[in-house]
Symmetry: C2
Subunit: 257 residues, 2 copies
DNA sequence: CGTTCCCTTGAGTAGTTTCAATACTTGTGG
DNA sequence: CCACAAGTATTGAAACTACTCAAGGGAACG
């Protein structure tokens, strides 16, 4: 995978250099960053579609995504709902540390590589490093803020706008960790994945994709979105990235106080 | 307001006796509970529709809901989206402690009474009481789990099923804090509120309510749902309460480990 | 005792679904 | 290198769901 990340993605923070990059990372000290790096016990790879955690499983480890994409999914009799997407730098199941059992599955979307962090190290971190604990808490709250935006999207936007919004969100999140460019947004999604994110049928996901093409906003081929007009696309999807807590109205500038 | 809560709702925990009741409260020690009670600086009342926090505001306090209901809302050019509901015992803006600025508004639904907790006390709590910090973290993760269920609902369920599901969720959450009975579920919601929770028009919310009545599942009058057949209603709405982390497959039984 | 908000109903329109059929991709084994 | 299989993408038609607009009825509050 192509990697070109910010200043922290250097040998010293080889595994966790993307953690909260572009968000809260600037308030962490070098000691903090070293501490976080030292939490990782080992790495692990997953194949496309492989589960990292299943709903209801008792867990004693968390994982930070190093490469690739992952889905949070909820399966039911009616099929699969995708309730979240993760990009490199995200702790994909940090929620499991406090919850012990997750309410959802975490599944690789394409090949993925992860850094594994035992819960016992996080428990010690809570005792020793309340500032880092607060940053970890912050990271799970970012997930919650994204969940809220998805709720808002599902409540307001029609299918093509939702599809566009999902891509634009990913582009911003990939940008935080230095993985975005202005030519294409390249998640390994099928139209079925898009459908399961938007709560629509696969046929309708295809029509949504067609509509973006016909409106000359973007071309989506094999999961990759090629924007034709960034500005128009953002306006069409009503994309306002501040809920991601990067630079913008909600950005957290000061140190912890 | 009618109050009849669990064993912890006694004079000693007059304000915070409902915090995590039915979920994680059983792993807290009496010292922990006293510490949590001592976090509250004062109480505050809100009128119907009054804002506690607005999106983007810099905050230095949190609030625990003592009586009444509150909405988490996101306003946009197209109107209001309701992305969450709170019941007594919930910390309504605990997210604001780590995020500093919320991505959404917090608004009273009917009259509400709150206990105010300054961030500085929470910061000290993080240093002194990692166990309590973890319980607070847990509480915000419950919100995230509920957000995920809402996403799943919006992706899967038609309008009448969503309305029924929202009421059943509230019934379970009110039950955790001793505020549920088997005759009625009484939030102060208008059909406009229901519409904004489900992402549908007010007219369609009305038709959803009519459908529940016509199907002999429940009657909804002036916000109050009178169930005609609990079992049928739960099946109709596909309500499975385990995502709320009360008793059930996801319940957190052991002490922190 | 009116005003205001909320609820209800009808009619026509827009968005989405299902079913069905066809084509394109990718990976696998011959 | 080709053939096949499996998964993915595309298109059409008919049915359904939910939307908007519009108008009228009802309940609560001052």
């Amino acid at each position: 995978m192509l990697r070109r990340t910010g200043q922290d993605f250097i040998a010293e923070y080889r595994l966790t250099g993307d953690f909260l990059a572009g968000r809260l990372r600037h308030v962490l000290s070098e000691d903090d960053k070293r501490y976080i790096e030292s939490l990782v016990d080992r790495t692990r790879s997953l194949e496309d579609g492989e589960h990292l955690v299943r709903r209801g499983e008792l867990t004693d480890e968390c994982a930070i995504l190093l490469e690739g994409f992952m889905f949070r999914t909820i399966e039911s009799a009616q099929g699969r709902s995708i309730v979240g997407v993760n990009v490199p730098g995200d702790f994909v199941d940090l929620h499991g540390f406090a919850l012990k059992r997750l309410d959802h599955d975490v599944v690789a979307a394409g090949k993925a590589r992860l850094g594994i962090v035992p819960h016992r190290r996080l428990a010690r971190m809570m005792e020793e490093q309340p500032g880092i604990a607060r940053a970890m808490w912050f990271a799970t709250l970012l997930d919650a803020a994204i969940h809220r935006k998805w709720i808002e999207m599902l409540e307001r936007l029609d299918a093509p706008r939702q599809v566009a919004h999902h891509y634009l969100e990913l582009h911003t999140r990939l940008g935080f960790v230095g993985l975005a460019n202005s030519y294409a947004i390249r998640p390994p999604f099928t139209q079925i994945d898009l459908a399961d994110m938007c709560g629509i049928s696969a046929v309708h996901a295809n029509r949504a994709v067609s509509k973006l093409r016909d409106a000359n906003l973007a071309e989506i081929r094999r999961g990759t979105l090629y924007p034709k007009d960034w500005k128009a696309l953002r306006e069409y999807a009503q994309f306002e990235p501040d809920y991601l807590y990067g630079d913008g109205t909600l950005h957290h500038i000061e140190a912890w106080g």
